[in-house]
Structure formats: structure tokens, C-alpha cells
């Protein structure tokens, strides 16, 4: 069918900020959708609050609203733009929920807007458990047995049919709290009653436990002509019970016979038809009982999902792009397959390699969080790897994680000589726990279990992981045992080439081999190269080589035929950022993609290297050539060897590629832009101090401690509070502010192990200093400021976790000018070619330098969106040799409007974790609010971050003494604006004595009803809570946690509180206006 001509304007909803469970994959899918629809001549309107996305680039859509993704804002945009249709299936659950809200409240009907992709009925049928269950019964597809209970009696009746173990899920509790698994009647009775109590609707879902079953997913697509195809099957390494986002997953399914696979396929087709997803992609999850093959469908996402992104990258079939084209009426047989060019999208990809996805966790950031893997997703990113066997794919996956693993390093044994020795009781217990309780390290412990002489049956019985996967790990362990014996083999032995080739074919990294052989990585590499053992590169082609692949989407393997076919064009390679983690996420992928765009426009062939399947950078049509490979020195060096690029760009992908810079340069790889030496000069503490001394710039007093004694001496010299952290840290890892010698001792003893090799940095902490972030661009001769951002929160809160405004909202012009001057001096002295980010602190009109990073920073996309100057593109051009002058970049752009960036946190996913901010970065994503004044822009940023800003009601205040005085003025404004103040006794007395009306309320320990009761009963609209010292932190923990779980706006820093006061007042005064980026830019 030809495309629809009855619609011209389509609104696409993006996913908003990166959160756990919703990451860059929706930028990838949304960007594909925008491009696909624009290509077809439709006017595309976009709503997305996340500035760090390619989809919010002003060129991607026609009208780009960087505004909060809420039903209210969506309605305003619909009113203003009058789109013909909304495509809600490419922006994750956020987009779907927002679209459902405007469909249900009559907005779509009122403005005559159609939902395309999936109808409201289909969405509800897929998402509502009862409707879904009924639909499955209708088509004869099994679901786990279940029932809803509202009373003890009902619960007892349902358990008869469900049986044990049973899962109890209270309805409408955030994060599934109050639920659990009951293994017997006694446990069940207690849990059922507690669950009914915990649920606001007094309802629990009781479900048959299929924990331990095998888990599979199918990616399905359907078009308007009712053609249905399966794009990819995925098998979970971890059995049911671990969220698929937290499981290691493998494509295609490995342990299904055709008979069983076809049952899944038939069921998937029936399901997508019955649910009624008209066009586009869906993801369906199944459990299969390993004993008898019985199947149960777990859930269906009536939209493009994280798994769709993985399936797209795993097969080369661009699901989101095709989904967008199907939504406007094309059928699968009308859409060409870009890779083969001669075939169409109406087929099912077949692959001739094995894809492994491994999730990346950051539990080290949340020490209080329970790191057990459950049905609640906890991972923050993932890496994907491709190999010709599972063993190769898995081992490549492990080294793609960038957690210091290069294979199956032992967790239990200190050297290979110990393998097989009897375990101590404690070790045995640790091993049993690590196998039995799902956790992120389990895969390494499985290898150790084999080394401890456990067999497949034993390991299977505790892990429930399919024996096929266990066997593969056992084979790797056995190979390792063989490889260890080669340590003494003379280097000229004729056995070497075959043995080494065999090891490489099974995915062993040089580094792991070096550990096994007792050699260095370099020695292993030299030995390998001396035998001519190098990887070949194969193409991902959707078709198992049946047709010629025209897209150089490549992965390495150790076989005979290489399909890389490098060109002799002038080419530049860009190294990506690897798996997302807190501190290194989509912002860096954005920079990489922009680098690629700019260099391609300048006529270079662009080569992308990355292993993150969620990203735009790993879309095969982003760069000219894509290498889906781990970002290790070994893997990158081999690609350089085959491609021989003019240069490699390491400054866009965050720390990951930056860490490789020195080694790559030493290996003779040309690094473009700022030299590795300049990078080192900024990162090495002593060299950096020399630099500051030379330029006569200030930094907070500091010292380097290699022991507690040294640290204590430094702290005494510079005065408490001090900031302590290990040298060379990422994202504020293990960084703390210490107010007292006891805390310093505890930090030095517990948090970090200081040693001569790993000294601890001790800095004077500047209390109530204003932090300023600067992004600048230099070609080595000229320096242009990209943007100056004033943080809302005081210095000491990690810059990634602070809100910030561009342009600055309260800094004196003279200070800003001085910051400009210092930025220039630093850039020129370091010889920056490309991007640079500097963090300053301003206290009492004195400027201190906190940090210099001569690379793309997390704020580059925000600054680019705020100023309409795409810094990463310019930086790439500069690195490739152009001057800023040639590019016409001379002056800083200072916008006439205000942009505010706010961070978004994962606290809700981690029960037991406090929400206080500090020097350790904890946010997963960011949003942007734009408006003509700071307060309205800040208010938008809060709404976009999911904060429910009230315009009236009770504000609960509990402040530390130091903050009380400053709060008087804002408190007056609040009261004048119609808010009521509620405070704990100390704060209440203080406010009253300053003539403010305030209601006193009990602290938690003062008896009920207390402030937490008030929060739970929704009497409080907003919480202001600052704390000092561990006691006060512990006392007020339940306040912050309750506010979080009940979705009540809360602020925990004085500066945040003041901004929030003016934001809520501003929201009360002015109506929220929505304006697309393109209009803001035109005003400049």
C-alpha cells in the first residue's frame, strides 16, 4: 500500500531523560523514526525533554519541543501545532503513557488527532494485566496461572489453583514494594495480608512462580496488510526471575528445537494480531519450563523496546525505522532492505554469528542498595558483542564491560596454580551464595565453580541456568587449564601458532592470555603477530551471507576470510563510549555522532568503533563504517591495523577512549586533537599544579596523602571540611566531603585503601561556593567559549548531579569575564585542539579552579542545544585541521533566553538508598527546561525531571542551622504566594521568631502523628530538607525516602530550595508556554 496522504503532520513523543529501564535506545529509535518520516515528506513535530539526544537536534525534526514530556505539555503542543497524528510507540513507556493520558482525557478527540502505530485499545489490552490475560485465553496461549485477591479469603481461594511457589504483587505500589515469593502456606498467609495492606487499593496479584524457567523474547513486526515477521529471537542466560534488562541475553535462541521455536513464533503472531498492534514492532516475552517445554507468555510491549534496539543491532534490521514507515501505511514488502539493497523488509533475518548482551551495573555508587538481581531492573547500561561462537561472543562481551575484566578472571583463586584446591568453608559459602542468589558477578563465579570441581548438574541445580550455557563456560575453563600449561613452552615451539589461534578463536583476549601464560599483554601480542594471527572482520548482513551486504557493519573473529574491504579514502576513526554507566552516558554518544556527521560533511570517511547497542552511534547508517567491537587497546589496535585511518578521535567518547590514548599513541596510532600529553598534564595532579602556578591561577588548598597520617596532616593544614577522593577517579567515584578527623579516619580505613601507588587527594572544601562549568573550543590558536553554566547547587555536589543555568543567573559580569580569561589561558597553555571543560568554584568573588578536562564533557549537548552552536561538530572539524577562524567561529553566543539543565536520579529503583546528593555522581540522565526567564526555565526543568511542582499547599521545612537565616526571605515569598509552612520544632520556632506563620509538626522520633505520616497522607505538597552530620542524615532519611516514594517534590540543598521557591511562585503567576527550539533560535 502506498503511504498515507490524509495525514501531513505527525507528532513523535520521545522518552525524556535516561532512567534505569529507559536509556539511549529510545534516542536511537526516535531518531530513526524522525528521519524516516521526514524522508517521506511529513512534517515532524517532536516532544522530548532530553537535550543529550540526536533526536532533539534542530535538524532531526521540523519543530522540536524540548519541553517536559507530560500530558499537560503535550496538550499545549497539540493545541499549537494541530498535528494529524501522534506516533507514541517509539519513545518507550514514557511516550506510551503520555499518549494514553491524552487519548483518555479527550484531548486527541477534541483536536482530531489520530494515534498511529498502536491504538488506545491495543495499548490497554497489552498493558492491563486482566485484559491481557483474557486476550491470551481467547487465543489459547498460556499465561502463568494467577488471580486477584482483595481479602484473606480470596487469597486463600486463589492459591489453590496457583500453587507454590507463588508470587505476590500488591497493586499500585511503586517499585513492587510489599511483594514477594511465598514457598509455603505460612509464608503465603503473611505475605498476602501484608500485600493487601501495602496496596492503596487493597489488591494483590497472586501469580504462579515460573522462576527457574527458561526465558525467551521474540521481536515481532506487523504491517497494515497484516503481514507479520519475527525479527529476532533472544534467549536469556539467566533463568526467569531476573529482569531481562539485567540478564545476560543471547541472540538467536540457542536451546530450542524447531518445533519449540515455531510454537513461540506462532504464539507471537497470534498475540500481536489479538492485541491489535496495527503496525510496527512489539516485544513478547515467554517462559519455557525446561522439564516439559510448557510455555507461558509473560508480557508484551506494544511498542519498540530496549530489546528491539538490541534486536536491530543484532540482526542489522532497523526495527524503529521500519516501524515508522509501517505506521504511515507502507507494507513490509514495499520497504527495501538497506543492507542487501535487492531484497525487502518482508523477511525474517537470519544470522550466522552469536550475539551476547551483558548488562552493566553501578552498585558501587549505591552501597546501601540490595545488589540481588530480581524482576526490578537495576542495570544502567549494556554492552553487546558479536562472535562466530558463543564462547567468542561471551568473552568479547566480558571485556566490553570496562570493569577491568578481560575474560574469566577468578574471583576465588589468586593464581591458576590454586585451581582445583579444596575451598575453605567461608569460600564454599561465598561460592554457593554467589551461584544461588542472582548477582552481577555470577558468571565469573560459575567459572570458579568449575575450577572448584563442581559439575554442570550441580551448578545448574543452584543457578537454574541452562546446562548448555554452563557447558560453554566449562569449555572455556578447560581451555584455560590447557593454556596455563603453555607458560613454560619455549617461544619457538612449533605448537604455538595452532594453540594461539585456537585460543583467539574462542575469544580469549591477549590480556587474559598474558595472565594465563605469565607474560605481558605486549609479549602475547608480539607472539601472536609474529605468527600472523590477526582477526578478520565479517559483516552483519541480515541474511547469513545469502545476499551481498553493501553496508560495512563489521565484527571481528579469528577465521580465514576478511570482509572489511577497507577503502583508500581519507578516513577518521572515532572511538565511542562503550556501555552506559553513571557518569558516562548518552552525552558522549551524542558527541561521537556529531563528530561523525561533521567529518562526513567535510568529505572524510568515518569509522565508528563502539559496543553499546542502545546508541545512535552504533546505527549502521550513522558512520560510513561501523565496527561493533569492545573498546580495549587490543581490539582498537587491530581495527587501526586494518583501516589505517589518518587519525583517531578519543576525546568524544568519555573516559573510555581517553584511557586508551597514551597506549595508542605509543603504538604509533595518530591521535587527533589535543595530545595525550596535554590530557595527562590536566589529569596528573603534580603537572596540573605546575600549570596553575605558571598561569597564576588558584585552586582550593590541597595535598596528596598516601596514608591516614598524611591525610590528617593535610586536613589540619588546610582546615576542615575537606574533600577526599582517590586519584584518577570517574564520576566522583568514592569521593566524600569530610568534616571531622573521625570521619577522615573512617574514610581512609573503610572506603578506600590508600597506598603509595594509589594516593588519596585531599582538597579544601569550599562551603557555599558557586560552581561554574565552562565548555570551550580551541584550535590551539584561538579559544571560543561554548557556554558558561552556573550551577544551582553549591560546589560539592557532583557537577553531573547539579542543576545549572545558561547563561549564569546571578554571577557578576566581572567574575564571568575573569572566568573567560582563565579559560582562554588554560586552553592555550595546554594546547587544546578540540573541546575542553573546566569547573570553577566562586566564593567571595574569588575564582578557584576545580578541574580541567581537555575533552568533550557531559554538558556539550546541553550547551549546544542552549546556544544552537553544535560544539562537537566544530571540535571534530578543528581536530581534522580546520581553524576556528576558517569555520567562522569567533564569538561566544549568549542566548536571550535561559536554559536550565536538571539531573534525574534512579533512587526509586533502589529501596534503602538515601536521596541526598554529594560529590559522588548518582544521576542517570538529564532534562532541559527553556524559557525567557530563569525561574520559568527552572520550573520546566523540574517538571521535565518528573518533579510534581505544586502551586499551592503545605511546604514541609526542616533545615540545618546554617541554612535557616538565608531561608527567611524565600519563606516570606512562599507565604505571600499562598503556601503554608509546616516545620519541625527547631525550624518552626526560628521561622516564627522571624514573624512567619508556621505549623509545627513532630519529627519521626517525637511520636505520631509525625511528618512522615503527613507525607503519606498527602498533606504535604513539597519538602525542603537540609541536613548536617550523620545523625541528622539518619533522622531525616525516612522523610526524603517517603517524599520520593510518594512523588512529592523535595529539595535537599539550600540553593535548590531557593530556586524551587521562585519556580513554584513563577508557575503560579504565569502560564506555561511551549516554544520549539527552532523558534528560540530564530530569535537570536
Amino acid at each position: 500500500m502506498p503511504k498515507r496522504t490524509d495525514i501531513q503532520k505527525i507528532l513523535i513523543i520521545g522518552a525524556g531523560p535516561i532512567i534505569i529501564g529507559q536509556a539511549c535506545e529510545f534516542d536511537y529509535s526516535g531518531t530513526q523514526a524522525c528521519k524516516a518520516l521526514k524522508e517521506e515528506g511529513y512534517t515532524v513535530i517532536l516532544l522530548n525533554s532530553n537535550p543529550a539526544t540526536i533526536m532533539t537536534d534542530p535538524e532531526t525534526a521540523d519543530r522540536t519541543y524540548v519541553e517536559p514530556v507530560t500530558p499537560e505539555v503535550l496538550e499545549k503542543i497539540i493545541e499549537k501545532e494541530r498535528p494529524d497524528a501522534i506516533l507514541p510507540t517509539l519513545g518507550g513507556q514514557t511516550a506510551l503513557n503520555t499518549a494514553v493520558a491524552v487519548a483518555k482525557n479527550g484531548v486527541l478527540e477534541r483536536y482530531g488527532v489520530e494515534l498511529i502505530g498502536a491504538s488506545l485499545d491495543a495499548i490497554e489490552k497489552a498493558e492491563d494485566r486482566t485484559l491481557f490475560k483474557q486476550a491470551m485465553a481467547k487465543i489459547g496461549v498460556d499465561v502463568p496461572r494467577s488471580g486477584l485477591a482483595h481479602s484473606y479469603e480470596e487469597a486463600m481461594e486463589i492459591i489453590e489453583s496457583v500453587g507454590f511457589p507463588a508470587i505476590i504483587r500488591p497493586s499500585f505500589t511503586m517499585g513492587g514494594s510489599g511483594g514477594g515469593i511465598a514457598y509455603n502456606r505460612e509464608e503465603y498467609e503473611a505475605m498476602a495480608l501484608a500485600g493487601i495492606d501495602a496496596s492503596p487499593t487493597n489488591e494483590i496479584l497472586i501469580e504462579e512462580s515460573i522462576i527457574g524457567w527458561k526465558e525467551f523474547e521474540l521481536e515481532v513486526m506487523r504491517d497494515t496488510a497484516d503481514n507479520v515477521v519475527i525479527i529476532c529471537s533472544i534467549e536469556n542466560f539467566d533463568a526467569m526471575g531476573v529482569h531481562t534488562g539485567d540478564s545476560i541475553t543471547v541472540a538467536p535462541a540457542q536451546t530450542l528445537t524447531d518445533k519449540e521455536y515455531q510454537i513461540l513464533r506462532d504464539a507471537s503472531i497470534k498475540i500481536i494480531r489479538e492485541i491489535g498492534v496495527d503496525t510496527g514492532g512489539s516485544n513478547i516475552q515467554f517462559g519455557i519450563n525446561p522439564i516439559d517445554g510448557r510455555l507461558a507468555v509473560i508480557e508484551m510491549n506494544p511498542r519498540v523496546s530496549r530489546s528491539s534496539a538490541l534486536a536491530s543491532k543484532a540482526t542489522g534490521f532497523p526495527i524503529a525505522k521500519i516501524a515508522a514507515k509501517l505506521s504511515i501505511g507502507y507494507t513490509l514488502d514495499e520497504i527495501p532492505n538497506d543492507i542487501t539493497r535487492e531484497t525487502f523488509a518482508s523477511f525474517e533475518p537470519t544470522i550466522d554469528y552469536v550475539v551476547t548482551k551483558i548488562p552493566r551495573f553501578t552498585f558501587e555508587k549505591f552501597p546501601q542498595a540490595d545488589s540481588t538481581l530480581t524482576t526490578q531492573m537495576k542495570s544502567v547500561g549494556e554492552a553487546m558483542s558479536i562472535g562466530r561462537t558463543f564462547k567468542e561472543s561471551l568473552q568479547k562481551g566480558l571485556r566490553s564491560m570496562e570493569i577491568g575484566s578481560y575474560g574469566f578472571e577468578s574471583r576465588l583463586f589468586s593464581s591458576p596454580q590454586e585451581w582445583g584446591r579444596p575451598l575453605s568453608d567461608a569460600e564454599q559459602e561465598l561460592l554457593n551464595t554467589k551461584l544461588h542468589v542472582p548477582n552481577w558477578e555470577r558468571i565469573w563465579f560459575i567459572a570458579d565453580a568449575f575450577r572448584a570441581n563442581m559439575d554442570i548438574a550441580q551448578i545448574h541445580s543452584v543457578t537454574r541456568i541452562d546446562p548448555w550455557f554452563l557447558f560453554q563456560i566449562q569449555q572455556i575453563v578447560e581451555m584455560e587449564e590447557g593454556l596455563v600449561k603453555l607458560a613454560d613452552l619455549p617461544l619457538d615451539d612449533a605448537e604455538w601458532p595452532a594453540l594461539l589461534r585456537d585460543a583467539k578463536q574462542n575469544g580469549f583476549s591477549d590480556r587474559r592470555l598474558a595472565q594465563l601464560f605469565g607474560k605481558t599483554e605486549d609479549e602475547v601480542r608480539q607472539l601472536r603477530h609474529s605468527f600472523g594471527i590477526r582477526p578478520v572482520y565479517k559483516r552483519v548482513d541480515t541474511c547469513g551471507a545469502e545476499f551481498v551486504a553493501h553496508t560495512p557493519y563489521l565484527y571481528s573473529t579469528y577465521e580465514t576470510e576478511c570482509e572489511a574491504m577497507p577503502t583508500d579514502r581519507k578516513k577518521i576513526m572515532i572511538l565511542g563510549g562503550g556501555p552506559n554507566r553513571i557518569g558516562q552516558g548518552i552525552e558522549f554518544d551524542y558527541c561521537c555522532v556529531h563528530g561523525v556527521m561533521a567529518l562526513a560533511a567535510d568529505g572524510y570517511e568515518t569509522i565508528m568503533v563502539n559496543c553499546n547497542p542502545e546508541t545512535v552511534s552504533t546505527d549502521y547508517d550513522t558512520s560510513d563504517r561501523l565496527y561493533f567491537e569492545p573498546l580495549t587497546f587490543e581490539d582498537v589496535l587491530e581495527i587501526v591495523h586494518i583501516e589505517k585511518p589518518l587519525g583517531v578521535i578519543v576525546q568524544f567518547g568519555g573516559q573510555t577512549p581517553l584511557k586508551l590514548a597514551v597506549a595508542l599513541e605509543q603504538a604509533g596510532v595518530p591521535i587527533l586533537g589535543t595530545t595525550p600529553d596535554a590530557i595527562d598534564r590536566a589529569e596528573d595532579r603534580e603537572r596540573f599544579q605546575a600549570l596553575l602556578f605558571k598561569l597564576n591561577l588558584l585552586q582550593p588548598d590541597n595535598g596528596l596523602a598516601r596514608s591516614f597520617d598524611e591525610a590528617e596532616k593535610i586536613a589540619e593544614r588546610i582546615g576542615y571540611p575537606v574533600v577526599v577522593r582517590p586519584s584518577y577517579v570517574l564520576g566522583g567515584r568514592a569521593m566524600e566531603i569530610v568534616y571531622h578527623v573521625d570521619a577522615l579516619r573512617s574514610y581512609m580505613q573503610n572506603a578506600v585503601q590508600a597506598s603509595p601507588d594509589h594516593p588519596i587527594l585531599v582538597d579544601k572544601f569550599l562551603v557555599h561556593a558557586i560552581e561554574v562549568d565552562v565548555d570551550a573550543l580551541s584550535d590551539g590558536r584561538d579559544v571560543v567559549i561554548g557556554g558558561i553554566m552556573q550551577h544551582i547547587e553549591e560546589a560539592g555536589i557532583h557537577s553531573g548531579d547539579s542543576a545549572c543555568a545558561l547563561p549564569p543567573f546571578s554571577l557578576k559580569p566581572t567574575i564571568v569575564d575573569e572566568i573567560r580569561r582563565q579559560t582562554r589561558e588554560l586552553a592555550l597553555e595546554l594546547g587544546v585542539v578540540g573541546l575542553m571543560n573546566i569547573q570553577f568554584a566562586v566564593k567571595d568573588d574569588t575564582i578557584y579552579l576545580l578541574e580541567v578536562n581537555p575533552r568533550a564533557s557531559r554538558t556539550v549537548p546541553f550547551v549546544s542545544k542552549a546556544t544552537n552552536r553544535q560544539l562537537a561538530k566544530l571540535a571534530a572539524q578543528v581536530m581534522a585541521g580546520k581553524t576556528l577562524d576558517e569555520l567562522g567561529i569567533r564569538d561566544e553566543i549568549i542566548p536571550s533566553y535561559v536554559s536550565v539543565k536538571e539531573a534525574v536520579f534512579p533512587f526509586v529503583k533502589f529501596p534503602g538508598v538515601d536521596t541526598l546528593l554529594g560529590p559522588e555522581m548518582k544521576s542517570t540522565g538529564e532534562v532541559m527546561g527553556i524559557d525567557t526567564n530563569f525561574y520559568q526555565a527552572f520550573a520546566k526543568s523540574q517538571l521535565a525531571a518528573g518533579v510534581h511542582l505544586p502551586v499551592k499547599g503545605n511546604v514541609f521545612v526542616s533545615l540545618k542551622d546554617g541554612d535557616k537565616q538565608t531561608f527567611i526571605e524565600p519563606a516570606r515569598r512562599l507565604v505571600a504566594g499562598g503556601f503554608n509552612l509546616v516545620a519541625t520544632r527547631g525550624t518552626a520556632a526560628f521561622l516564627e521568631s522571624n514573624g512567619l506563620p508556621v505549623t509545627a509538626i513532630n519529627k519521626v522520633k517525637e511520636g505520631r502523628p509525625h511528618c512522615v505520616d503527613a507525607l503519606k497522607s498527602k498533606e504535604i505538597a513539597m519538602v525542603f530538607n537540609t541536613t548536617f552530620g550523620p545523625h541528622s542524615v539518619a533522622d531525616s532519611y525516612s522523610i526524603r525516602r517517603t517524599a520520593l516514594m510518594n512523588n512529592i517534590a523535595y529539595y535537599t540543598t539550600l540553593e535548590g530550595i531557593i530556586a524551587a521557591v521562585d519556580a513554584v511562585l513563577s508557575l503560579g503567576r504565569e502560564k506555561l508556554d511551549v516554544v520549539p527550539l527552532q523558534e528560540y533560535y530564530a530569535r537570536q
Binding site: 510448557r294 525474517e348 550466522d352 548448555w468 551471507a545 545469502e546
Partner: protein
């Protein structure tokens, strides 16, 4: 233990022996299905062929007694990247390697199968040899060159049954295994040119009382059994030399409804005066898109053929009902006057998708209609 695959054009691959030790020649082809190796091994249509699986890991689910399409493997040799010695599946009873040894099928693993597939794709399917006895590449290439081509060779004779037999087993169901026949509404004679059991099971499922007869059974004998319909099965190799079958079909046309699959489809086309030709490397896999020309609907199909029907010569006799969307080759035809239709692909699947099961119902409808026309 070392094994070598040599192609007639001189390309040599060195790998490891698996399955039976020995030496075999055959036409080297590839199959892109990711599941269903056991069905592929036992599909008689692979007689005379050395099959390469494009998916690298084969044998993961082992071998079970149920997933067979005939009594034994029929292919000449089997090529995989990595055969799994430790299968995991609730129905598995033995490893792939043991099964191949038991059935004397020579295999090779550990070669760059993608490179081999690309070579076949670019240069066409050709004769090859696998050996774990003779490890001299030059000698093997010579042997491959001397080995007979499958073109012009009647391979049906090697796989057809010796005597007629009755079939009552229905399709497989999870938890129940193979179903027993229910109500028998049609008497169907199935010509065995190398028939896959799942075709028979599907015929049983639509109510057929099936008698399978040898490929050379004269039309008169078939008609004497007074069938409601005649089925022309799949089978190996080149349809052209199977002239006796073409002649029988000509005699049956118009007298009884006919349904043909794969080789049966090609033989029907030849019987109608059509022509067949050899494809460069054939279609073998479970992801081939076929369009029903009447409705435009696309079916994902299971295919296994090296020859195809040339549409021009039968334009007047038959309607071309289905085409392959990858290369526009003919996938189905229907006689203009008499009740006879056929498809090039495998609606019985096994292995592969079930999108085309409706064709069996169409056969039943055709038999109903024909029966009514006789009354």
C-alpha cells in the same frame, strides 16, 4: 582429527572431522535456518547434497526420536562451524555427532563456513568432497571434479519407497507428541519422490486417509484406487530426468485433484509443458518471503530447492499464484482448467514457519469441490 572439504573449482577448507569418518561427494549447498537441523538431516530432498549450515552452532538441542522427516538422514555430508557435544533439551536423547556416526554421515566442522557460503553464493553450488581419509587437497579436488553432477540425474529412485504403505500419524503437539488420525474424509494417494513425513502428518490433520506409493507407480494404478486427491511430494535433485512421473501426472490431470510441493511442483509444471532450470545456489532456509499474488499477503516460508520453474512456457496453462520476493522466482501455480495446484516451497514447514498451512485446507476444499462435481 583433521578433515578436508574440497570444491570442484579448487577451493579447499581444512577443518576437523565429525560424524562418521570417511569420504563423500555431493553438491555443496547451504541452508540459512537457525533451527531444525534434525529435520534438515532427515529430509530426503537433500539426497546427493552436502549441506552447510550458515548458523554456526549446530547440535545444541541434540537429537530426539520425534523430529524426523524420514527414517534416516539422506544427505551426503554435513558442514558446520561448531557441533555441540553437550546438548541441552528436554527431549534430547543423543548428540548430533553420535547420530551422524550411527547413520554413517560424514561431517566436517571448524571451517570458516561463512567464507564457504559466500563462495557458493558468488560462484554457484558445485560438487565438493569431504574426506577424513585422504588429506591431500590436490587429490580431493580431482575427486570432486570427477564426481557426478546432480544435473540430469534421477535421484528420486534413491529415496522413494519400495512398496506402498498407509500413513496415519498426525502433527506433533507439545505435551502430547504425534497425534493419531481422526475422522478420515478423503482418500489421498501420495507419490513418494522423497516425501517428508510432516507433509503426511498435515494431510492426516485435514482428514486424509493417506496411502504413500512409490514414485514410479503408474497413473492407472493410482486411479484404480479411486482417490479423492493425489499428492505430489518433494524430492531431491533435478526434476527433468524424472520423466515417468511427469507422464503419470499428465494422465492424472483433470481426473483427480492434484496438490504438489517442491519437486512435485516442478514435475507438475513439466507435465504441463513447462521448463525447469537450475538456480545458481538455490533457496534453502526458513525465511524466504513469498507473496500470494491474489491478496498481496506475504508468507515467510521454508524452502529447499536447487531448481525452479520457468513461468513463460506454462503461461497459458496455469496461473502463477505465488512469487518469491527476494528474486521473483515462481513459487506457486494453479491450473487454469483442472483442479491442480502446487507450490515450490514447504507449507508443511518442519523446519520452518507455519504461515502456509492454509494450502492443505485449500487441497481439502479442492477435493470437496471435485467430489461435488462428480455427484
Amino acid at each position: 582429527m583433521k578433515a578436508i572439504l574440497a570444491l570442484a573449482d579448487g577451493r579447499v577448507f581444512i577443518g576437523k572431522a565429525f560424524g562418521a569418518r570417511g569420504e563423500v561427494t555431493g553438491e555443496v549447498v547451504f541452508n540459512t535456518s537457525m533451527t531444525g537441523y534434525q529435520e534438515i538431516l532427515t529430509d530426503p530432498s537433500y539426497c546427493g547434497e552436502i549441506v552447510t549450515m550458515t548458523y554456526p552452532l549446530i547440535g545444541n538441542c541434540g537429537i530426539n526420536p520425534e523430529d524426523v522427516e524420514s527414517g534416516r538422514p539422506h544427505l551426503s555430508g554435513f558442514i558446520v562451524k561448531e557441533a555441540c557435544p553437550y546438548p541441552s533439551n528436554w527431549r534430547s536423547t543423543m548428540t548430533l555427532d553420535d547420530y551422524l556416526k550411527q547413520n554413517n554421515i560424514v561431517g566436517i566442522q571448524g571451517i570458516d563456513t561463512r567464507s564457504l557460503v559466500r563462495h557458493i553464493r558468488d560462484n554457484g553450488a558445485q560438487t565438493g568432497i569431504i574426506s577424513s581419509i585422504d588429506l591431500d587437497p590436490a587429490s580431493l579436488v580431482q575427486k570432486a571434479r570427477k564426481a557426478p553432477s546432480i544435473v540430469g540425474h534421477d535421484l528420486v529412485q534413491e529415496v522413494t519407497c519400495k512398496e506402498a504403505y498407509h500413513w496415519t500419524e498426525g502433527p506433533w503437539k507439545l505435551g502430547e507428541g504425534y497425534q493419531q488420525a481422526g475422522e478420515m474424509r478423503y482418500k489421498v494417494i501420495a507419490y513418494d519422490f522423497g516425501i517428508k513425513r510432516n507433509i503426511l502428518r498435515n494431510l492426516v490433520s485435514i482428514g486424509c486417509d493417506v496411502t504413500v506409493v512409490p514414485a514410479s507407480t503408474p497413473a492407472s494404478e493410482v486411479l484404480a484406487m479411486k482417490p479423492d486427491g493425489v499428492f505430489l511430494s518433494n524430492g531431491p535433485g533435478d526434476p527433468e530426468p524424472v520423466v515417468y512421473a511427469q507422464e503419470n501426472i499428465r494422465q492424472l490431470l483433470g481426473k483427480v485433484p492434484i496438490f504438489g510441493i517442491c519437486l512435485g511442483h516442478q514435475l507438475l509444471a513439466l507435465a504441463l509443458g513447462g521448463r525447469t532450470y537450475k538456480l545458481k545456489f538455490g533457496h534453502r532456509g526458513g525465511n524466504q518471503p513469498v507473496q500470494r499474488k491474489s491478496e498481496g499477503q506475504v508468507e515467510i516460508t521454508s524452502q529447499n530447492h536447487g531448481f525452479a520453474v520457468d513461468g513463460d512456457a506454462i503461461k497459458d496453462a496455469a496461473v502463477l499464484t505465488h512469487i518469491n520476493l527476494n528474486d521473483n522466482t515462481i513459487e506457486g501455480l494453479e491450473h487454469c482448467q483442472v483442479p491442480a495446484f502446487s507450490v515450490q516451497y514447504h507449507p508443511e514447514a518442519s523446519p520452518g514457519p507455519h504461515d502456509a498451512r492454509y494450502l492443505f485446507d485449500r487441497f481439502a476444499a479442492l477435493m470437496d469441490k471435485h467430489r461435488k462435481s462428480l455427484v
